[in-house]
Every structure is written in structure tokens, then in C-alpha cells.
Symmetry: C2
Subunit: 224 residues, 2 copies
DNA sequence: ATTACTATCTACCGAGTAG
DNA sequence: TCTACTCGGTAGATAGTAA
């Protein structure tokens, strides 16, 4: 593999057009371009030549350099990795917190037909009547939790059952402890603050994972 | 500017999604990814932090890293330069040779109406009746000269004047000694071999540049 | 003018280890 | 566990200079 110290040199050679044909280049010219000494440039060229990233030809007093297929490929590979890395959308967040027992309001809301129907149609599962409540300790986790508010997520509309109105909410598909699939709830004007994460799932997460209050739980959240 | 030794680390951070938000990353994790020791990873992170390419947050035992705007920009800049360098078509060749006097055949052919009309319409100038002949000394120059044969260039069709037929040729826009614009001729089945380069121009190049036999002349050739 | 050797100096790395 | 220090070894850089 190409050494990182040689990337500058390969880049300059590309810019000079050394992938098309031999380019006239003295070690002094290269030195100026890479901001190193003539001796360093000489060494870089000879090392790159040794590893077949380039070929050199000497014609009386002039030296010519041409990138080999291997040299161009190495740079193309770097370009491709960079493209991937820069364009990649990271859709996964991981948040950890300790399990605690809420006031039971979660269970009440989740079971309401107005919400439940939407969970079934939008998430594809009928939620277990109850939420898993995690207390977020670290600043990082709380900041990640707050960040969810600014993302679209899967929308759950508010409704009116004739007696009172129920607010909007949104959720994000999630996996608890890398095992149980479900969704994280982000309720507007929630009764909890940013230190709480509520998770719903088709199953009873507590019993499936055999966890109880105080246990540390991690949730992978798909924010796409 | 970012040091080349740190590119690996920045690249790994990008791949981990550290441009979107804080990513949990220990110095040991990073060490594995970049194939260096934990101590080296630690130093890389602290140097990058010092130069504001990234921010770090420590939460009890966990360390989180997030690329700054500057860090992402540095990588985006590299990506953009790489894109340019890889896509750039280098359309210019430079060939040098020593001036010599030919047999005068060049003047005869260039002045023939069948060719002259095409020079005027395809090149946009009425050529001086005579060619500038350069003797190519170095292997590099001769190989560049031969390479012209494989390129399209500007086509000059052959013709028949009733007495005999005149062959096809092609030419490439060129600049002699960085001053006089004209064109290099590549005649099919030429009477010269690959050690000769023929240049035509509207002006008399010898008198405009005040050059004479034996002088070293350089020609920039547009091969697009 | 070149390129590239030797000698010297600096920066980087890894081992050990403290906090 | 974790991060990051010191320190000794080595790779990389420069200066001087030969060819």
C-alpha cells in the first residue's frame, strides 16, 4: 500500500498529467511543489519508483516521470474511499441509559386506538402496551436524544376522541441491546425531559431481554 | 494545512460518521483502524484537536470524537483536488528539437492549393510557404512525436490534381518557443522519420523568432 | 545545471507505565 | 478499563557535497 507521506508527491504528479505520459520534472521542481528539500523529493521519487508507483526516464540532463497503472490506481482508490466517506449518511445513533419504571402513562397512551392504529400501519407492529423507559446519564446521550427532535422520523398524528385532544409524536426504528426491534418515541411536549428515552416494541422488552430497573440498556436508532 | 500523516485518521473518522455527530472512539479502537499503536493514535487525535480539525468530549470512561467544519472541509478539499487531478485531460505536449534546413519539399507541398485551402479553412491561417524542421534528439521527444500519429488531430484530406495523388495528413495547433502560433504537421508516409517535427505558421517563424540552424526550439502542442 | 550519497538532526513510533 | 506521559529507537528530513 502507498505510504501517506508519498500522497503529496503522487497528487502533484497527477496534477502535472503524469498519468497520461512522461512529464519533465526535476527533484528541485518537485521539492518546491511539496514544500520539502530537494533531497527529500529525490528520496520520495526513488521510493515510489522502487514500489512501482511510477517510472523514471533520464534523458541527458532532463528527468521524466510517468505514473504506472499501479500509481494511478492507488490514487483512484483513495478518491473512491473519500467519495464514499464524504457522501455516506450515517443513519444510526447509539444511545445508552439505565432502565427505570415510569408512571405507567406510556402504557395508557400506546394502547389508545388513535395511536395504536398508526403504530400498526406506520411501524408494522402492534406495540406491547407499555414503554421501556431509559434514564440517560451522559451529556452525549442527552445531546443525541435532543437531536432526535430535529429529525423527521416516522410521523404519528395527533387526534381528538371527542373528549380531549392528543398531540403529535414521531418515532424512529430502533433495536434494543442489539436484539429486540422496536421504535423510539419522541413525543411533543412530553412529560419527560431530554434525560429520558422511551422505547416501544411488539414484545415485552423487559421479559424478552430479562432486564430490570437499573440495568444499562443500549439502543441503536435509525434516524433516516 | 493538514499533515499527510493525519489523513488516515481523518479518513477513518469520516467513515465512522464523525462528520454528522459525536462518535464513540477510544484511542485503542483508532489504533487498530490505522494500524498504529494506541500511543500514536492518542497523539494523532490530540494534534488534530489542537489544530481544530476535530473536537473531543470525554464522558466518564468513554471518549467521543466529532469532526469540526474545518476537518470536514479539509477532506472535502482533498477530494475535490483528487477529482480534478484524476479527470483532467492533459492536452498539451511539449517537444524540443534543433532547427535544421530541409529539402524544400515542405514549402512545395504547403503551397499546393489542394492543401492550402484546407489549412485556411481548418486552421484559420494561410501558411507561410515553408516548414520549420526540428530534429528531435532525445528518446522522450521522439516517443512523444510518434504518439501524435495515434491521435486524431485536425484532418487534412488527400486529393488528386489530375496528374498525381497527394496523401492525407493531420495537424495539431502549436506554439513555437511560447510565441508563434501555428501547427505541427503529421504527414502520412512522410519522407521524414520520427526524429523530425514539421511546423507551419502564418508567419515566417525563422525571421520572427530570429532563429537559425542548430538552435534549440520548443513546441507546445495541443493534442485535444 | 542535474541526482543522490553521507552525516546529522528532528519527528514519529511503540513500550512501559502513571493517573 | 481509559488517556497520555516519558523515553529510547528508528524513519524521515535537511545540509553539504560528489559525480
Amino acid at each position: 500500500m502507498v505510504k501517506s507521506i508519498h500522497l503529496q508527491t503522487l497528487l502533484e504528479l497527477l496534477l502535472l498529467g503524469a498519468k497520461e505520459g512522461p512529464v519533465k520534472l526535476s527533484t528541485m521542481d518537485l521539492a518546491k511543489k511539496i514544500g520539502k528539500s530537494q533531497q527529500a523529493a529525490s528520496k520520495h521519487l526513488s521510493e515510489l519508483e522502487q514500489h512501482r508507483f511510477l517510472e523514471r526516464m533520464v534523458e541527458s540532463n532532463d528527468s521524466y516521470v510517468k505514473l504506472t497503472r499501479k500509481g494511478v490506481d492507488a490514487m483512484a482508490e483513495l478518491h473512491s474511499v473519500l467519495t464514499t466517506a464524504l457522501e455516506k449518511k450515517h443513519r444510526i445513533r447509539e444511545i445508552s441509559g439505565t432502565l427505570f419504571t415510569g408512571l405507567g402513562e406510556g402504557a395508557y397512551y400506546v394502547a389508545l386506538p388513535g395511536y395504536r392504529r398508526q403504530f400498526i400501519s406506520n411501524l408494522g407492529f402492534d406495540p406491547f402496551p407499555g414503554t421501556l423507559n431509559l434514564r440517560l446519564i451522559s451529556k452525549i446521550d442527552r445531546s443525541l436524544r435532543r437531536d432526535l427532535e430535529h429529525r423527521a422520523g416516522i410521523s404519528i398524528e395527533g387526534f381528538d376522541d371527542g373528549e380531549r385532544t392528543y398531540g403529535r409524536a414521531k418515532c424512529f426504528r430502533s433495536t434494543v441491546n442489539n436484539k429486540v426491534k422496536g421504535a423510539v418515541l419522541a413525543v411533543e411536549r412530553t412529560h419527560y425531559d431530554d434525560s429520558v428515552l422511551e422505547v416501544i416494541a411488539h414484545e415485552n422488552i423487559r421479559s424478552v431481554l430479562k432486564v430490570s430497573d437499573g440495568d444499562m440498556i443500549s439502543v441503536r436508532i435509525d434516524i433516516s
